[in-house]
Symmetry: C2
Subunit: 383 residues, 2 copies
Amino acid sequence: MSVTAAQGFTAAGVAAGIKTGGDLDLALVVNLGPRHAAAGVFTANRVKAAPVTWSQQVLAQGGVRAVVLNSGGANACTGPRGLQDTAATAAAAGAALGVPAHQVAVASTGLIGVPLPMDRLLPGVARAARELSGDGGERAAVAIKTTDTVHKTSVHQGPGWTLGGMAKGAGMLAPSLATMLVVLTTDADVDAAHLDRALREATRLTFDRVDSDGCMSTNDTVLLLASGASGIEPDAGEFAAALRAVCDDLAAQLVADAEGSSKDIRIEVVNAADEDDAVEVGRAIARNNLLKCAIHGEDPNWGRVLSAIGTTRAAFDPDRLDVAINGVWVCRDGSIGEDRDKVDMRGRQVVVTADLAAGTASAVIRANDLTAEYVHENSEYAS
Amino acid sequence: MSVTAAQGFTAAGVAAGIKTGGDLDLALVVNLGPRHAAAGVFTANRVKAAPVTWSQQVLAQGGVRAVVLNSGGANACTGPRGLQDTAATAAAAGAALGVPAHQVAVASTGLIGVPLPMDRLLPGVARAARELSGDGGERAAVAIKTTDTVHKTSVHQGPGWTLGGMAKGAGMLAPSLATMLVVLTTDADVDAAHLDRALREATRLTFDRVDSDGCMSTNDTVLLLASGASGIEPDAGEFAAALRAVCDDLAAQLVADAEGSSKDIRIEVVNAADEDDAVEVGRAIARNNLLKCAIHGEDPNWGRVLSAIGTTRAAFDPDRLDVAINGVWVCRDGSIGEDRDKVDMRGRQVVVTADLAAGTASAVIRANDLTAEYVHENSEYAS
């Protein structure tokens, strides 16, 4: 159901020929209103792709009528031509839909530094506009895949209103955000300011805490569109919780499908002095290649957790650190704890718990292991 | 010749049985004087191994008569017992050599979180003391290897004085410092304050700029011992240059032998606003797993260089960034530059040049690619 689960939205996914091989590679999502409220969160990378620059400006001026998304090319580091191509994409969608180009957001994903094949992309936009339908959400979700093995969607049913969405992302998955394109839609009647507040809070706690491979993308885009078609103004807390649940579900799906991964690592940092400390420690653990290799090898090598924690500025006493792997406290007081042979790491889910004994704050970071398959996929990506 | 190239030093390397399999695993280096000046630089990791804590105290109180080094166990995260074991090691060496234990530095390397087999280590110390000789430097260098495939030594001949050293390190190679044990010896007549100044400057520019896998160790130790046996007081600038050359040589040897690596990556950041910016950008590039995979695959994927630069706080304009790979400027002004097919990446040495167009400062960071072999080595290390 994806982005068309909520009323007031149509979508399409077509094979425009941007990717070789005939896979779906262009998606269009349209908000039919009556409201066209929108919020967006974008990559923190200072090297931003043209569609990110464009969509930030679309958001700044107000409503969003439609979103064009393409896989098969990131349109990043493509200079002035890249921005022209994005503007032309928005113009083509605007013309096909009868809406102003400056109300059309654009998102792209794929290889950096390669111009988009506009001779194929623009006709694809026109075709997608003709194929729009109220059940096009699945095809749209498929069309934004790159190395994703499955498409990712999530839907939450509120009292009288619906929130749904789609996501792509399998590599370059790190804050802030992970390399991802996400479009969320709702028929709840929510204005842009509320959408913005709820989206920032939800992404901060979900997508921003995915750290699959430490690499931050140039193209990350999360858009939330509200049509108001249900006519129902939801309780703000209830809507925020629903949004967070959908984002959390999509974030978990991203980690589960990360390039070449064999394990999902859930890093729980507890008893930190404050949340920033907890996040800093969680990220340091998440990015430790040696630990990621050890977890791949099902080796409860807690020394690598400690050496990662030791690189941070967080408040802790090295002699009071406790670490558990899958619930076995293999490190107590910064030294040898329970028998490491008790740790069962055969499943895909691995939980690393780090107790800083410095306060009451906590955070969860989602990561992946490091595998030979990750190396293979990413050493051959461009060729 | 290693640590016994300079006059006034003896060394030994023995198989104490700390490692299974009978390999050399314990080294002893003795400064016969007349001077016993010393300087040391240690890991910046806040989780420090017992021998680091011990040796920092030895340095603080003054001269160093001897250094005991073992492979086969890091004695890190081993609690109070670990510190007792280190003290006992120093005491055993002191007793065998007739010098105070508090003038014996200790360094360990190997798995974290496992107590040392003191019943085998202590007899090994006594045996090493009996086997000391003026040409024991090579065996000492072999005895400190862990996953190193070759031992690393370097010697510089000054006018009337000699500086030499040994190093180990193949994984957990990142600042500050790389996971390394280094012992440098000289018969030049230099006092501790001058040694300290020269060593800090040399390590800052060499070992601290190795970033093989982004992982900082708990055990890094670089010691510089001066016997004064040549009777010659060297020119300070000449001595500093020699020290830097020896450290640079050893740093290059570490990168060349890094676990599972197939490429040495030299990252040159030029035209930065200041040296800190240059180092920050160099490290961000060095740690980008996707780029490391691409270089392994001989793919000049400059977009990954730009996305790494974009994560830093350094001064630059994204539209003025230039990037060369092996001398071909594949990225100009933040966009597509020369034809990437011109880049020849078949050799082991790969040079990535990033021009920030923001000033005149520069820095070089040495890194390695990411390979399936790295994953294999590090997923099976403890088991």
